[in-house]
């Protein structure tokens, strides 16, 4: 009966897969069809004194379902003095998605996307206009794109992936390749990822302080890819088309994922939410991997993963403040912890571990045929000392390529750990593993480090002039640390400068439990590395909690010297230390479970489990419910709806640049220069100009001058000088009596390309090594090694 049911279920899955493939084929065929264009004539003038809202300028526009680009011709003399959008009362709710676009004096056309999910004959062009600016509106050109079909293809691919994934899992279950515990863990991890992703499943985006900035970053990566940059260094549309060097200073590697979704046609909100969900899945996976291997217990790993992923600091960063970079960096902390633990506690003399054949007492087929690597008694894989650098390398790479400030804090912690373990650091094997980890992390990140250092050292960036801000007043009050029922949102005002968050009562209780065990003499046993880990976790966790308080003398530390002042100032908020504090205290929780299990303290174990569950359900979920209810939420479809001007603290502008004047504009010709033809696309300009004077002159372009811009004459290859003009824009020196076409564009310096090549080669070599090792392992006798 079971076999028949399984067979029936498989038939349905095969049918579903077939339908999906057919639909994918249909979508592909639709993409081959030429894109249609619709033009609607218009010629409307609105005087400066006339203000209106919701004026229907064009009506009865008929379009089939699709994703389109709307290009409305216009002229205005004021920036942001008006707006145009589309509306349709005849399609179903959610059938038309767009935010429209603002009008700018320096542009003559809009170019915003809109999503139409139902055929219509009643689409309307709607205008808003403020008094004080003139407005003329011309033709509307609507161009179809392929994005409707790319969206469908993406959904169909995902559905196919889910079906194939479920078939694979079912097969593993039938063959008994997944033991009971593994199934429990898999289920548990899925639940944790789902719970953590609740704020990203609202159909809107929860908006925090940094929300717009990170959306701009995602859009910047998308536009950068469209402009031909890879990797994206200067976000081309940012600062109203002038370009912004965010990609150089704030690594955008992980933002490639939401940027690709945007390229496939997903809305801004959907792409951002998908990124949040992906980060949650990654955090759950990485934290489980690390904690289960540290404590050699899957259930401990699962609970630590839950506590860590749903920790208050992480929810605060990723959801409440939308600090996407910092929230993403928290994902990689467990890898660093695990890597350091392995390097400092494993025996360097061990080669590959001999599998003793005893696999936790289960007789299932899955466990008698081990998976990839030999297993310890608990069933968790272990491998030799020569691989201890790997988690640390990937952890460092992850942190470096997500959030520089977290990298600073991480570096500080690693230095402290190394100083405390200085004797071990100078052991050859340990030093070599540390070196390998650091080296590989640098190699993997060289593509980002070289441009960062290049600009930081050679350009006078604004970020170098912000050492004056103090941070101590932004520290937490001590009582906030153990906050359990934190309700964020309207009405829960910050406490005199401190942000309303803590580390959570559960982790504070864990801190005290381990302290009691330690000072009660229960952790005296020598030679057990996990005991050392438990003690270190509370020392570091406690220290980091202290550093997050307003009691900690940050102002005094900042007064030491300029370098320290700059470093302290760059931290901005002492609560940044709570990310690492959470990592250490979750490790302390795992230690408590390990201790209870080892000493047969069943009651203690149960209490810790209940504490974990209670913590998650009554604190984390409570906070998320409040965030969902009270925090502002936006639905953003196209980037034009949010504009291109917001650059937060303008840290990556050249010092002295007045950002308020950086609106869309055309070229500014110097004395004697006439610009006859001008075309700008992203960071590339092509113009035909003539210098009628006998002296060298210039043309200033609406591009912020960062190192890397080149100007050349395409016919002759002659390079023209590019320098900083007024307000640090690109100024191209036009020789006397010059006539011809000039192309200007950003080009990464050759040494940046070398760095990218080195990083790319490093990743490829890593992949090849991994595949080779895996093949070698499978080629041996069921993965068993002889002890060296």
């Amino acid at each position: 009966m079971d076999k028949r049911k399984t067979g029936c279920s498989n038939n349905w899955k095969k049918l579903a897969c077939l339908c999906i493939v057919i639909l994918m084929g249909f979508c592909a065929v639709q993409m081959l069809r030429p894109n249609r264009q619709y033009t609607y004539a218009g010629d409307m003038e609105f005087p400066a004194e006339e203000a209106f809202n919701g004026l229907v300028a064009m009506d009865g526009i008929a379009l089939p379902m699709g994703v389109y680009e709307a290009s409305l011709e216009y002229r205005t003399d004021v920036d942001l003095g008006g707006r145009c959008t589309l509306q349709d009362g005849t399609v179903f709710t959610g059938g038309l998605l767009t935010n429209g676009e603002h009008f700018y004096s320096g542009l003559d056309r809009t170019s915003f996307r809109f999503w139409l999910f139902e055929d219509t004959e009643a689409l309307q062009l709607v205008l808003e206009h403020e008094a004080g600016s003139s407005l003329w509106v011309g033709d509307l050109v609507i161009t179809e794109t392929d994005q409707l079909w790319t969206i469908f293809l993406t959904f169909l691919s995902f559905a196919l992936f889910l079906i194939l994934g479920s078939v694979l899992i079912q097969r593993k279950l039938r063959k008994g390749l997944l033991c009971r515990e593994q199934r429990d863990v898999l289920f548990g991890l899925a639940v944790i990822a789902g719970m953590a992703s609740i704020p990203f499943l609202l159909g809107t985006s929860v908006s925090g302080a940094d929300f717009t900035y990170h959306l701009q970053r995602i859009e910047g990566v998308k536009d950068g890819l469209l402009s031909g940059q890879f990797p994206v260094r200067l976000e081309p549309e940012w600062v109203h088309g002038h370009g912004y060097a965010d990609g150089v200073f704030y690594c955008n590697a992980l933002l490639l994922f939401p940027a690709i979704l945007r390229l496939l046609g997903f809305t801004v909100t959907d792409s951002y939410n998908c990124y949040g969900i992906a980060m949650n899945i990654l955090t759950v996976g990485i934290s489980y991997y690390c904690f289960s291997r540290i404590f050699k217990n899957r259930i401990t790993g699962l609970m630590c993963s839950g506590l860590y992923t749903l920790s208050i600091p992480r929810i605060y960063k990723l959801v409440i403040t939308s600090a996407v970079g910092e929230g993403s960096a928290i994902t990689f902390f467990p890898l660093i912890l695990y890597g350091l633990y392995r390097i400092f506690t494993e025996d360097p003399r061990s080669g590959a571990v001999l599998s003793d054949g005893h696999l936790g007492g289960s007789n299932s087929l899955a466990e008698s045929k081990s998976l990839v690597e030999p297993k310890s008694e608990s069933g968790i894989s272990v491998s030799g000392y020569e691989t201890t650098w790997i988690p640390l390398a990937f952890g460092l790479t992850g942190v470096l390529q997500t959030h520089v400030l977290s990298c600073e804090i991480t570096a500080f912690l690693i230095i402290v750990i190394c100083l405390l373990c200085i004797r071990k650091v100078f052991q050859k094997a340990v030093f070599w593993e540390l070196f390998k980890a650091a080296f590989v992390a640098v190699v993997f990140s060289l593509w980002y480090i070289v441009p960062f250092l290049d600009y930081y050292l050679t350009e006078d960036m604004h970020i170098k002039h912000v050492s004056a801000r103090t941070i101590q007043e932004r520290g937490l009050y001590i009582t906030q640390l153990a906050s359990h029922f934190i309700s964020y949102g309207t009405g829960t005002a910050d406490l005199g400068g401190a942000n309303s968050l803590g580390i959570g009562l559960v982790l504070v209780v864990v801190f005290f439990v381990v302290c009691i065990l330690w000072f009660g003499g229960k952790l005296r046993e020598k030679g057990e590395p996990i005991l050392l880990l438990g003690k270190a976790s509370v020392v570091f966790g406690g220290g980091l909690m202290l550093m997050s308080l307003n009691l900690f003398p940050w102002d005094w530390i900042q007064s030491w010297n300029r370098i320290v002042a700059s470093l302290v100032s760059s931290i901005q908020f002492p609560n940044r230390f709570l990310g690492w504090a959470a990592a250490f205290l979750v490790t302390a929780f795992g230690f408590c479970l390990w201790y209870c299990q080892r000493n047969g303290e069943r009651l203690g174990y149960v209490l810790m489990v209940v504490l974990c569950l209670a913590g998650i359900t009554t604190s984390s979920l409570y906070l998320m419910d409040y965030v969902i209810k009270n925090q502002q939420q936006f639905q953003l479809y196209n980037e034009e709806g949010m504009g291109f001007g917001y650059i937060s603290g303008a840290e990556y502008l050249i010092e002295g640049t007045n950002e308020e004047t950086l609106y869309y504009k055309g070229p500014i010709a110097g004395n004697g220069v006439r610009v006859e033809r001008y075309a700008k696309e992203y960071l590339n300009v092509e113009m035909t100009c003539a210098n009628l004077s006998q002296e060298e002159s210039y043309v200033e372009l609406p591009l912020l001058h960062y190192k890397g811009y080149r100007a050349y004459v395409p016919e002759t290859g002659e390079e023209l000088t590019v320098q900083k003009g007024a307000n640090n824009v690109v100024q191209v020196r036009i020789p006397a009596t010059f006539t011809g076409t000039v192309k200007v564009g950003f080009q990464s310096p050759f040494y940046w390309r070398i760095a990218e090549f080195v990083s790319g080669t490093g990743w490829i070599l890593m992949g090849i090594c991994y595949l080779w090792k895996k093949r070698k392992f499978y080629g041996s006798e069921h993965g068993k090694y002889q002890k060296v």
């Binding site: 709710t93 279950l173 429990d184 719970m195 609740i198 609202l202 159909g203 409040y626 209810k629």
Partner: protein
């Protein structure tokens, strides 16, 4: 032998105590001694006055009757204040809801533990508490009480064939639901109709028809309104309800919720997760007879979603548009989904109590019971300090 009897007595006592706790936790606002302002409470007070004046059908909500406000009127006439009368009314309502739910689930499950948990999930469901106290829609609260009764009767017919007791209960319960809230009558009638087709027990049409006849005056008003718009005195506006339903993340809220959209709550969510865990990790499948509940749970969840194309459905015709407008919000269907989700959730808890591991066998049901009660108490407490007494 004596020890066994003692154990059984103790077990029965604990079981009864659990039901009392369930009833109490969902009735806390009744002990305030005053009416909480907010929601639709003022409308319902006005309708009590209408009934005092002899109006069987409400002028404020023309398609609903004031029948079930009779106990309130009688209590007020007996000299009790409105606040006390309300408290007694709510306690009676919640007692009846607990009793009816227990009746239904004991017929469906047969096992004591599963019946207890299904009743727990049903009575302490955040949507039920929302309807009773936050929204303050007494009509829907009565409908929540009578729906299990109608389902009990129909379950009996499905199992045993035609029976007079079952049929009369179905008919009376359906009529009662109709006189309480016409929307819930339509939903309940639709579900029972489909249930009859699903299980091919066509004798079930008889009590359904009887219920419709008993609800005749109300049903005629409803049909006249749907097809002709009534005589214009109804003043029911046509509105689109699309886009005002639940986002996926809102299904999972427990402590606070967006306007009119309470979530599943920790208890019900825990029960559902337990069922899913059993299916995935222990290969224990839901019985086939529960497929009906799962189907309607999923269907109602979809219908309560903000992405459900209600405006496309409204285009079928004006009667459908009126019908959809009458629902006022897709969130109504979430409540219906919760009713159905109680079954697989309770099944999951019951099966968990048969597992080998003591932590699962004892711990999981204990935690889920505690979570359900805690959330119900939390929600009721929140209301008592957010809502001012009605002046």
């Amino acid at each position: 032998m004596e020890a066994n009897t003692e154990n059984i007595k103790k077990s029965n006592l604990i079981n009864r105590a659990m039901y009392v706790i369930i009833w109490l936790s969902a009735s806390l606002p009744a002990f305030c001694g005053y009416l909480m302002d907010g929601g639709e409470i003022r409308e319902w007070i006005a309708r009590v006055e209408e009934l005092k004046g002899g109006a069987f059908f409400s002028q404020l909500s023309p398609l609903d009757s004031n029948l079930w406000l009779l106990p309130m009127v009688l209590l007020c006439r007996a000299g009790l204040s409105l606040g006390i009368a309300y408290g007694i009314f709510v306690l009676l309502l919640q007692s009846a809801a607990t009793f009816c739910a227990k009746l239904l689930f004991s017929r469906l499950f047969g096992e004591r533990e599963q019946t207890l948990f299904a009743t727990l999930f049903y009575v302490t469901c955040p949507y039920h508490i929302y309807v009773c106290f936050d929204l303050g829609d007494w009509g829907k609260a009565v409908a929540w009480t009578l729906t299990p009764l109608a389902a009990w009767g129909m379950a009996g017919i499905v199992r045993k064939g035609f029976g007079w007791l079952d049929s009369v209960v179905v008919a009376l319960a359906m009529a009662g639901i109709g006189y309480a809230d016409c929307r819930m009558f339509l939903v309940a009638a639709g579900v029972l109709f489909l249930g009859i087709l699903w299980y091919r027990k066509f004798v079930g049409f008889f009590p359904l028809l009887l219920g419709a006849i008993l609800y005749g005056p109300g049903l005629i008003r409803l049909i006249v309104y749907l097809f002709t718009g009534g005589d214009g005195s109804y003043q029911l506006s046509l509105q689109s309800i699309a886009g005002s339903g639940y986002a996926l993340g809102q299904f999972f809220s427990s402590y606070v919720y967006a306007e009119g959209r309470p979530g599943l709550g920790l208890g019900l969510l825990g029960g559902i997760l337990l069922s899913l865990w059993l299916r995935f990790a222990r290969n224990v499948r839901l019985p086939k007879k529960a497929d009906f509940c799962v189907f309607f749970a999923v269907l109602f969840l979809l219908m309560s979603s903000w992405r459900f194309p209600w405006d496309v459905i409204s285009r079928i015709g004006v009667p459908v548009l009126r019908l959809v407008s009458l629902m006022e919000t897709p969130a109504v269907f979430f409540g219906c989904a919760c009713m159905f989700l109680s079954v697989p959730a309770a099944w999951g808890v019951g099966e968990a109590m048969k597992q080998e591991s003591k932590y699962v066998r004892v711990g999981a049901p204990l935690l889920i019971f505690a979570a359900s009660i805690a959330i119900a108490v939390f929600l009721c407490n929140s209301l008592t300090y957010i809502r001012m007494p009605l002046s």
